[in-house]
Amino acid sequence: MLRGGLAVAARGETYLSVLVEVTSMAATTHGIGGLTFDPKKRELPPELGVALALVLIVVVFEVLGRLLMGDSFLFNTREGASGFLNTARLEIIILQVSIIGIIAIGVTQVIITGGIDLSSGSIVGATAMIAMSFAQAGDIYGNPNTRAVFIDAGLVDLPLIVPLIVGAVCGIVAGGINGLLIAYTKIPPFIATLGMMVTARGVAKWWTRGQPVSFPTESYAAIGLGLMPVFIFAVIAIIFALALKYTIYGKHTYAIGSNEAAARMSGIKVARHKVLVYTIAGLLAAVAAIVLSAKNLTAQAGMGMMYELDAIAMAVIGGVSLSGGRGSILGTVLGALIFGVIISGFTFLRLDAYYQEMVKGAIIVGAVVLDQWRQRYGASKA
């Protein structure tokens, strides 16, 4: 990157070489204060590092698999199975991360503004319960579904649009309240969303007094069928990757996270923008809730428990900086894949779930430490 005389001095080289450098640079025309630069040298995209990490982790599991299990992680080794790659495993990995991945897309945007959202897991729980109760079938194999929440009111077999709108409203309301609290009362996002985390979980339990909500209509169940969750995740990722890169929304999201005071002084309506970002995060948590409950064919009050941490982990692993201003959807998607590969790799190596959780914690902390390093040593080394 830029390398000025001062930078050279700071690196502790001799005074003479500094002098020589300054005088020689004074003659160049392409930098103020005699700074030289290499126009060909651009900043490397930080996602590159994350992609390399993903590849590295896959390789590690491949090697460990061959050594310990005598099996391949990535490739098809079974007799008779068709195809070169172990597509079954890859599908499971992607399917596993896509629902939390949807949440992570929203959380990424919140973190880029310099905030945090701890409420997404609980919003998943509350939304799943409420939306599902408007998506129940009237009868099961010919018998009336007497345990449907609104069977007495006749609110069964409703068109798909009803639970979708109900779910969206749940997410928008919860996210909107987060945003309003953070933008206008100036309480830290950590506290505001912690409050929502507890409250929304309460709503999830209160809605049916703890009873699960089951037997959705066929159209609702179709949302979670097969690779549908992956498809929804991909579409949402693309939409917000584009929005962050090519729209005013994205520019202001980064600006607020990078320097909130500067954003305000430049005329960006910071409070209003924050409300929008948290509302979108809430809405995406609601989408995840609908997909999850459709996939499981049931909603329970404890659904989505701790998803917020997994979503934050995906973002942080993907290079989204917890101090704001930096990160991308592509990074988060790669982070989600790393997350999925690690979980799947542990299962593949037949390690206990206990170890999985312990390592997950270590990975989250490790990613944050990495982020701190990145901050300190600048983007030029990313």
């Binding site: 990157m1 830029l2 000025g4 001062l6 025309t29 392409h30 930098g31 103020i32 204060g33 005699g34 700074l35 630069f37 126009p39 651009r42 900043e43 929005a243 090519y246 729209t247 005013i248 929304y249 520019k251 202001h252 980064y254 600006a255 996270g257 990078s258 320097n259 005071a261 500067a262 954003a263 305000r264 002084m265 430049s266 005329g267 960006i268 309506k269 923008h273 929008l276 201003g325 930096r326 600048g378 983007a379 030029s380």
Partner: protein
């Protein structure tokens, strides 16, 4: 008095018990370059923050461009035509030069509310144009500004004010952190603006610079204006006497004593 660009009357700002600005009367006319001087903590930046609606004033009135104004936020002030280089640079570290230049007023290709599509190409071209106009040389404008030197960042901030059509430019200590070359460059920008008879409010501690560039000097002391001096009727020593408190102009006497 149609040539008065900005007029402030009894502008006051209290931060709790701190009376950072007290009853400031100020005006600037078309084509004028007015310097604001005063010791650290005299209230100069506070004055700027009230004019530009970065903060809400405690009391007082402001007229801009012939109209009474009560800007609700900085965007309104910018849109009315006040461009400001703030003392604590209002730049976003992780964004590149064009993004910073157009922060808060991005050019768009396609209007879609908050999701309006950015016109990167136009912003890039306008940035190169603006940098050329102000003589600012930045190596690679697509790099984020976090690794640029203080001087370069300052130049980006100044180029921002000069890129947009404005009716008043305010610079709060624009050369405080700059080397000799960069300072000269910034001073040249101010001269260019003067040639186009753009009014400039320049806050500076640099007496030579003020004497070189400005027509009038307003001195702040402990939140109050204590002198309003024409350059032709004063000199460096005189100004210092007002800054330090050795002298106060008679018309400001009563308030200063209060």
């Amino acid at each position: 008095m149609s040539d008065i660009v900005l007029k402030a009357e009894k502008l006051t700002k209290h931060y709790g018990g701190v009376h950072a600005l007290e009853g400031a009367d100020f005006e600037i006319r078309k084509g004028e370059c007015v310097a604001i001087m005063g010791d650290n903590g005299a209230g100069k930046s506070t004055f700027v923050r009230q004019i530009t609606a970065v903060e809400r004033r405690t009391s007082g009135k402001v007229w801009f461009d012939g109209n009474y104004v009560d800007f609700q936020d900085p965007l309104e002030a910018r849109e009315a035509g006040i461009e400001t280089v703030f003392q604590n640079l209002a730049l976003a570290d992780h964004l590149n030069v064009p993004d910073n230049l157009f922060l808060g007023r991005e050019l768009i290709k396609f209007k879609l509310g908050p999701f309006s599509i950015l016109d990167y190409k136009a912003m890039r071209e306008a940035t190169l144009e603006g940098l050329k106009k102000t003589g600012v040389k930045i190596p690679n404008i697509s790099n984020s500004i976090q690794n640029m030197s203080g001087g370069q960042r300052q130049c980006v901030a100044i180029a921002r004010t000069a890129t947009f059509k404005s009716k008043l430019i305010i610079m709060d200590e624009p050369t405080a952190a700059l080397g000799v070359q960069e300072t000269a460059q910034v001073e040249n920008i101010v001269r260019t603006l003067k040639e186009h008879s753009e009014p400039v409010i320049l806050i500076s501690h640099n007496m030579r610079q003020v004497m070189d560039l400005c027509d009038r000097i307003v001195v702040f002391r402990r939140g109050r204006i204590v002198a309003n001096l024409n350059k032709t009727e004063t000199d460096g020593q005189d100004v210092v006497a007002y800054i330090t408190g050795a002298k106060t102009q008679p018309q400001f006497e009563v308030e200063a004593a209060a």
